[in-house]
Structure formats: structure tokens, C-alpha cells
């Protein structure tokens, strides 16, 4: 039994203990000035958060980001998987390329796309060349377009990962199903909707759960691309938490982080229930 002690200790001290203390500190006015003597304030932090427009905005942005990226990654990933799963020379080159972004740090991807999207960036230069200069703008500095591009970049990064999850799902479908469908004269669209999609259900469960939890936690990409701006247009829960932390409002910051955690557990639970019920046995 002693063999479990080292792992148990590290995990308890550096993971569990902060969670337990967060449960306590979220209900105090804990801040940098009164680091050692926080006062109990009951539900005040939570109530204040839900009355704070910026927090509500962050909550909405987090949900928007998580759901739209999940849908897009699922669709793009599935399309990519269907394209590269076909047998032809060189298909592994495409797989390698599409997977590449997801081993990179978000910071690197963030800086790369800053170069593409800034006022004198690649996209605007391209628009000027094709004579559409008036469409050019500071894509990450304008209201509305900033969030749109963060979503696109996240999909760019992780679509290849989703693709691989689908590839292993596609390869698990027995060939005979398609062969007998073909003999029965089913069109390729019919084969796709009646065989491929239903039998991919377990892959969908993994893809959606994985991407939703990842999306709700998003931090690095937003932080490196916009820092939550312009204004609070792209603020998400984890950047909101960091902002409160930066202002020294530790109690409020813990409460915000706690709400995010509870939210993640709730969403994953409901989604999992729903998706598993739709899986069919082969």
C-alpha cells in the first residue's frame, strides 16, 4: 500500500487541497491586501458575479465558444476523416499535415495568427491585392470579428485531432456492411446516413465530450490573441478569472473559477447521458 503514497501525496497537496480551499475562499472577501485574514461574506461573491455584466458576457462567450467550436470541429473533422480514410498514395501526408497544429503551443499559434489578422497582416494585404481594400480591418481588434476568428483558429488547431478520432471509428466499421449494402443497390448517400453515421455514434460521444470540456476551459488562445478584448468582447470565464486575480480579488476570482468547474461537470454529465443513449450496438 505504501507504493501509492507518493502519488497520493502530490495529488492531494497540489490538486485536491486547492479545490477544498477554493470551496472555502469563494465565500470570503479574500484579497491581496488582506491575504491572511479573509472575512466570510456568504453568497456575496456569487451574487456579485451574476450581477456583473462582464461576468455574464464571459459566461455567454464561453458557451458560444465551446458549442460553436465543437460543432465546427466535429463537421470539419468528419469531412477530413472521410477524405483521408480513402486509399490512395500520399494520404498519410495529409493526415500528418492536418494533425500538426495540435502539438503546437497555443502561444505559437496565437502569434502566428496575429501576424495574419492584424491591421497590416496577411489577410488585409491579400484583400488589397485583389482590390477589396475597404474590407480590410483589424480583425482581432474589432467588435464581432475577434470572437469569430478565435473560433476559426481553434478549429484550425484541433480539427486534425478530431479527424483521427473519427478515422479510428471509421476503421472499426466492418467492410461487409458496405458490401452487402452495395449489392442491395443502396446509394452512397444512403450508405453514409444508414451505416456510417449510426455506427460512428461512439466516436461522436468522444469527440463532442472532449471538445466541449476543452472549449469551456479555453484560456491560452484567447489570452494570446486578444487578451479578452476589444473591450470585453472576447472575455471568457478563465480570462475573467485571471483578470480578477490580476486585480488582487482572490475571493471573487476563486468563485468565478469554481462556477466554471461546476458548469463543466454539469454540461459533461448531461451531454454524456444524451450521447450514450444514442449509441447503437454493432
Amino acid at each position: 500500500m505504501w507504493l501509492g503514497i507518493p502519488a497520493g501525496l502530490v495529488y492531494t497537496i497540489f490538486f485536491i487541497l486547492p479545490i477544498v480551499t477554493a470551496l472555502f475562499y469563494s465565500f470570503t472577501d479574500w484579497n491581496m491586501d488582506r491575504f491572511d485574514s479573509p472575512k466570510f461574506v456568504g453568497m456575496n461573491n456569487i451574487i456579485n458575479l451574476f450581477q456583473d455584466e462582464i461576468f455574464l458576457r464571459s459566461l455567454w462567450n464561453t458557451v458560444l465558444f465551446a458549442f460553436s467550436t465543437t460543432i465546427l470541429k466535429t463537421v470539419v473533422g468528419l469531412v477530413l476523416a472521410l477524405l483521408v480514410v480513402k486509399k490512395f498514395r500520399g494520404n498519410s501526408i495529409f493526415r500528418t499535415l492536418f494533425y500538426l497544429p495540435c502539438i503546437l503551443s497555443c502561444m505559437i499559434v496565437g502569434l502566428l495568427f496575429t501576424g495574419i489578422l492584424k491591421q497590416d497582416g496577411l489577410i488585409n494585404n491579400f484583400l488589397t491585392v485583389i482590390g477589396q481594400a475597404d474590407l480590410a480591418r483589424d480583425w482581432l481588434g474589432s467588435y464581432g470579428t475577434a470572437m469569430f476568428w478565435i473560433i476559426i483558429i481553434e478549429v484550425w488547431m484541433w480539427a486534425g485531432f478530431t479527424m483521427f478520432l473519427f478515422i479510428s471509428g471509421l476503421q472499426a466499421i466492418p467492410r461487409e456492411y458496405y458490401e452487402s449494402a452495395e449489392i442491395d443497390g443502396a446509394s452512397s448517400w444512403k450508405r453514409f446516413t444508414k451505416i456510417t453515421l449510426p455506427l460512428l455514434a461512439p466516436s461522436f460521444t468522444v469527440v463532442v465530450t472532449f471538445n466541449i470540456t476543452g472549449g469551456l476551459k479555453v484560456f491560452d488562445l484567447v489570452y494570446s490573441l486578444t487578451g479578452g478584448g476589444p473591450g470585453f468582447d472576447t472575455q471568457v470565464l478563465s480570462t475573467y478569472t485571471y483578470r480578477a486575480f490580476g486585480m488582487g480579488l482572490l475571493g471573487k476570482s476563486s468563485a468565478s473559477a469554481l462556477i466554471l468547474s461546476i458548469f463543466i461537470v454539469g454540461v459533461t454529465f448531461v451531454l454524456n447521458k444524451f450521447l450514450r443513449s444514442r449509441e447503437v450496438d454493432v
Binding site: V10, F14, T96, C102, L112, I264
Partner: protein
């Protein structure tokens, strides 16, 4: 040559894939080209070739950017944290699966909790401050290890469950003590799951930005992603340097990826399925 329907389909697929590929190649191309340009050329983002290859950009970045320092830091942190995860994680995984009793099950669910819970970064920061570890390697190493331990413990224990107990019994009959049993018999059998855990933990920790940001933001000991971010803060007008710095950070990772591609892809995908 007669074009069959299948052949046309394949050509069409490749054409579509080539178009999609450009979306992945263009940013990389822009980065590589930009890293060889002069400051004036690089400021105007495009895909033109530089008039003259400016190798000085790389020299400048290596001399002033602290990128090499960031590499050393990232290596120290990643290697130590991964070592903790693999050694402690496998030991715990083994005892959980080999003790089918209540204590073992309790420990198992204690770690399962860690898979669903999210890290509380603010109180982690406070804890590190209290322990006097702010800005040290140790703080980041232990926090990152703790985040990754649940997954390692769970996957190790379910893998060991699949190894027949007869192997243990045979080893003990041959005079193995429990130490030898673990390190000489079980660990070699656990190689596939060890590689999976190694890859998931190493990539996650190498790229992690949030933990160093909270626990050692402006320190000399900070990791590559943080270094790059700080570098951009200083040189945001000199895109030739920014691109050179990006190439230096990306290149080793990409080379490693191309060499270990099969393991990385398999490891990360099976990680998502089990997680």
C-alpha cells in the same frame, strides 16, 4: 489510360485535400519566409521571398531572446514532471489493480474524481506562495504532475488489470520480492501504456501556459510558451525577430513529431477516448 469512376473520385479527393492543405501551409510558409526578411520586409506580411536571406535574425534572437534559456527551463520542468507522473502513477496503478479490496477501490475513486474536477488555479497560487515556492521549478513541476496524475493512475491501473495474476505468482515462486516483481516483471509488460502516458503528459506540459503564467510569470525560470509571449511583448514591431523566434521554438517540436508521429497520434487519440 481509361479513367474509371473510382479514379476520378480519387483525383477529386486529392484536389479538395490540396485546397484544404493550403490553409495549413500558408501560415507556416509566412512564418518561415518572414524569419529571413529584414524588419521592413517582415512588417509587410506576405508570401514573397526575402530579397536577401537575413540569418542575423536567428543570431539576434538566440543572443537576446532567452529562447535557449526557455528551452532549458521547459526541459527541466517537463522531464521532472513526466518522471513523477510515470513512476508514481505506475506504482499507484499497480497496487490499485493488484489489491482488489476496499482500500484499493477507494484510492481508485479518489483519483477518478481528479479526472472530472478542474484545477483551481487561484488557490493553487496561494498555496505555492504560502509554501514559499513562488517562481521556482518545483512549484510548476509538482502542480503539473498533480494535474496529470489522475489520468496516469487510472490508465495504468486498468492496463495492469489486464495482465494475468499468474504472472505475479510465477515470479514470486521463482523468488522475486515485490520490488523485483514491479520493476523487473510488470513494468516491462506495461510499456505500451507507459509510452501513451509519456506522450500525453510531455506534450501537455511542454505546451502548458496557464500554470507558469500564474506561478512564475516574469521569472528567469519560465518555460518556452511564456518566453515567446514575453519576447513578443518586447519586439512586437520587429516581426522578423518574432518569426525567427517562432521557427526556433517550432522546429524541434515538428522534427520530433515527424519522427514519433505514430506514437504521438495513437497516444493522444487513445488519451481522449479513455479520458
Amino acid at each position: 489510360m481509361k479513367l474509371t469512376r473510382k479514379r476520378i473520385g480519387t483525383i477529386l479527393t486529392v484536389l479538395i485535400l490540396l485546397v484544404i492543405s493550403s490553409v495549413y501551409i500558408v501560415p507556416i510558409l509566412m512564418m518561415v519566409l518572414g524569419s529571413f526578411k529584414t524588419q521592413g520586409e517582415a512588417l509587410h506580411m506576405d508570401l514573397t521571398l526575402p530579397a536577401q536571406l537575413q540569418f542575423e535574425n536567428y543570431q539576434h534572437v538566440i543572443e537576446t531572446g532567452g529562447i535557449l534559456r526557455g528551452y532549458t527551463n521547459s526541459l527541466i520542468i517537463t522531464v521532472s514532471a513526466v518522471a513523477i507522473i510515470i513512476i508514481f502513477g505506475s506504482m499507484t496503478g499497480i497496487i490499485i489493480s493488484r489489491r482488489g479490496d476496499r482500500k484499493g477501490r477507494g484510492l481508485y475513486y479518489y483519483f477518478v474524481f481528479g479526472l472530472t474536477a478542474t484545477m483551481q488555479i487561484v488557490t493553487t497560487y496561494a498555496l505555492i506562495l504560502k509554501l514559499g515556492l513562488y517562481g521556482t521549478y518545483i512549484s510548476v513541476i509538482f502542480v503539473l504532475a498533480a494535474i496529470n496524475l489522475p489520468f496516469a493512475v487510472i490508465t495504468f491501473s486498468s492496463y495492469v488489470k489486464g495482465i494475468p495474476r499468474e504472472i505475479d505468482e510465477a515470479a514470486i515462486m521463482d523468488g522475486c520480492n515485490s520490488f523485483q516483481l514491479i520493476f523487473k516483471v510488470l513494468l516491462p509488460i506495461m510499456k505500451p501504456i507507459t509510452i501513451t502516458n509519456l506522450i500525453i503528459a510531455a506534450i501537455g506540459i511542454w505546451n502548458n501556459f496557464q500554470v507558469p503564467l500564474y506561478l512564475m510569470s516574469s521569472s528567469e525560470r519560465t518555460t518556452i510558451p511564456m518566453m515567446i509571449f514575453n519576447f513578443y511583448g518586447l519586439y512586437s514591431r520587429d516581426w522578423n525577430y518574432v518569426f525567427a523566434a517562432l521557427v526556433i521554438t517550432v522546429l524541434p517540436v515538428v522534427i520530433l513529431y515527424l519522427c514519433l508521429q505514430k506514437h504521438i497520434v495513437e497516444g493522444m487519440t487513445s488519451g481522449a477516448v479513455k479520458g
